[in-house]
């Protein structure tokens, strides 16, 4: 199979897809965001618990393809323990990455970096950004409160 595909379906993506982190619903969450991608049927429910400007917990649940589900798993992993503003910065970085823009080299993106290959598959970018859009929506609500 093509090496392009290998750039999309990295092992770490498949790992998150098969063993999603932070799967479930927070009973004591402060924000619940439901989002779906109407063109393909992917959906996510994200629950966030924000205390004193910090995302202390995040859980996600939904259904969709390997890209959308692994992205949701990685996203919750990445924002847990982060300040709201830092999580939103990360979201911007992720959006830039999906548009194929250069990312600052010293940024440690961890597993998220594996999703870089998605930018070469325009039809799949929306899969990868679904969970991040949900997170942005929730944290922007938080900022406005």
């Amino acid at each position: 199979m093509s090496s392009n595909l290998d750039a999309l379906y990295r092992r770490v993506i498949m790992d998150h897809y098969k063993k999603p982190r932070n799967r479930g619903v927070l009973e004591d969450g402060s924000h619940t965001i439901n989002m779906n991608n109407p063109t393909c049927g992917d959906r996510i429910q994200l629950s966030l618990k924000v205390e004193d400007g910090i995302v202390v917990d995040a859980k996600q649940e939904g259904e969709g393809c390997s890209i959308s589900m692994s992205s949701a798993s990685m996203m919750t992993q990445a924002i847990k323990g982060k300040k709201v503003e830092d999580a939103l910065v990360l979201s911007k970085v992720f959006s830039d990455m999906m548009q194929g823009k250069e990312i600052e080299e010293d940024l440690d993106l961890g597993d998220i970096e594996a999703l870089q290959g998605v930018s070469k598959f325009p039809a799949r970018i929306k899969c990868a950004t679904l969970a991040w859009k949900a997170m942005e929506k929730g944290l922007k609500e938080e900022e406005q409160e």
Binding site: S2, N4, Y9, K18, C40, G41, R43, R124, C127
Partner: protein
């Protein structure tokens, strides 16, 4: 039918996608266009482009003749009694919305029923939801049997004396089943209801005779039957269309305009507001000529054979779930499926890397997806330019997809 000769008439098919020869298996979404359709549209713009039914000048007459000539081709294609029963629209969705917003909104009252089925496309659900909401009518669904077909007993049990409108797709864009719309029309009429047929997936693939079906309205799109996008047809029985009010006003559809009152043109132009879709209609006319030259019966038989071949080959792939009846006799030329543990989007991406175009998603049929207990599915759909070879490549691609995903885990 010589597939190699037919393929030569579709220039788009002769290309590589992602380094592989294109295998186009998404004709249920939109079909490709043969040269004679592309050339008819080009010829219109190069030689006779003019507004219709207006100018005294020569080009205006030529454009009008070509536009109205296309209407006559459509009339013959579906065996309507008169061209007054053939309205050009933007597509199936607009056609169905016109019936809902004009006929149904004026006829349906609180306590009445509108009957559709679980397998309908969103375009044959939401217009009726809107009518039900505005009028207080009840929207009812004919259930599906385990294999995805409709039984006439269920249709009889759902359609009652309170039913005013029954609207059913002739061929399902997901299950591939061919529905007994003629028999359902009979049940509708016995109960005093009108019958609407969504022919978006049937008109490209099988002979349609509106008089034989005895449907009251029938809707289809040009772009799924080798024609251009942006053109479709609403057939309606004359006595119904005559009673209906237009839903768009101005341009082509007017007769006399006074300061405070106006009158409409006669059928079919009453429903064609604005400058009509002239090039689209001419392109659709050329598509009908093309399909007639090959013969709808030959096309239907060819697709039937492909469906039977695909069902057999695909069912042999390990981990394959096929939706809809496995009996090819009950089907048109498409197969909707899922591979265990591989999401349909991922299937479609891997196949695309092999040059194979399939559809993945909910296919604009979310209620049906819930009935199937699938959030999404993949679909391969066939048309007159596909061959057994395309299906072999699809099956090979599916085996590779399975292997690829078991390797990366």
């Amino acid at each position: 039918m010589n597939i190699q000769d037919i393929r030569k008439q579709f220039p788009i098919l002769d290309q590589e996608v992602n380094g592989r020869p294109l295998v186009y298996l998404d004709s249920s979404a939109t079909s490709q266009k043969p040269l004679q359709v592309i050339e008819a549209i080009e010829k219109y713009y190069r030689e006779i482009n003019s507004n219709v039914h207006r100018g005294v000048h020569t080009l205006g007459t030529r454009a009008t003749d070509a536009y109205e000539g296309a209407r006559e081709k459509v009339r013959k294609f579906i065996n309507a009694k008169s061209i007054q029963e053939v309205i050009f629209t933007r597509g199936t969705t607009t056609s169905l919305n016109t019936v809902a917003a004009s006929y149904a909104a004026a006829t349906v009252k609180e306590g009445d029923e509108i009957v559709i089925t679980y397998m309908e496309h969103h375009s044959n659900i939401i217009p009726w939801q809107q009518v039900a909401r505005k009028t207080g009518a009840q929207l009812k669904y004919i259930p599906l049997q385990a294999d995805g077909t409709i039984s006439l007993d269920d249709a009889r049990a759902t359609i009652t004396a309170n039913t005013k409108v029954v609207s059913v797709m002739q061929v399902s864009n997901v299950l591939g089943v061919i529905n007994p719309v003629k028999e359902i029309a009979e049940i509708a009429h016995q109960n005093g209801a009108i019958m609407v047929v969504d022919a978006a997936q049937s008109a490209p693939h099988m002979k349609i005779d509106v008089q034989d079906l005895d449907c009251d309205f029938l809707a289809f799109s040009g772009h799924k039957m080798c024609g251009p996008t942006g053109i479709g047809v609403l057939y309606g029985k004359k006595q119904l269309l005559e009673k209906m009010e237009p839903i768009e006003f101005g341009g082509e559809m007017i007769d006399f305009v006074e300061l405070y009152e106006s009158t409409w043109k006669e059928l079919p132009w009453k429903f064609e507001a604005g400058t009509p879709i002239i090039a689209g209609a001419i392109g659709l006319g050329a598509a009908i000529d093309f399909l007639n030259e090959i013969g709808l019966d030959n096309i239907a038989e060819h697709e039937h054979r492909l469906a039977a071949y695909a069902l057999e080959k695909m069912a042999a792939v390990e981990g394959m779930t096929i939706y809809g009846p496995l009996d090819a006799a009950k089907r048109a030329g498409l197969v909707t499926f899922n591979l265990t543990d591989v999401h349909p989007h991922d299937v479609a991406t891997v196949l695309d890397a092999e040059g194979i175009a399939v559809r993945a998603g909910h296919h604009c049929a979310q209620p049906l997806m819930r009935w199937l207990k699938a959030s999404a599915t993949a679909r391969a759909s066939f048309y007159l330019y596909n061959s057994e070879d395309d299906i072999d490549k699809l099956v090979e691609g599916l085996v590779k997809t399975k292997e690829y995903f078991s390797d990366v885990f």
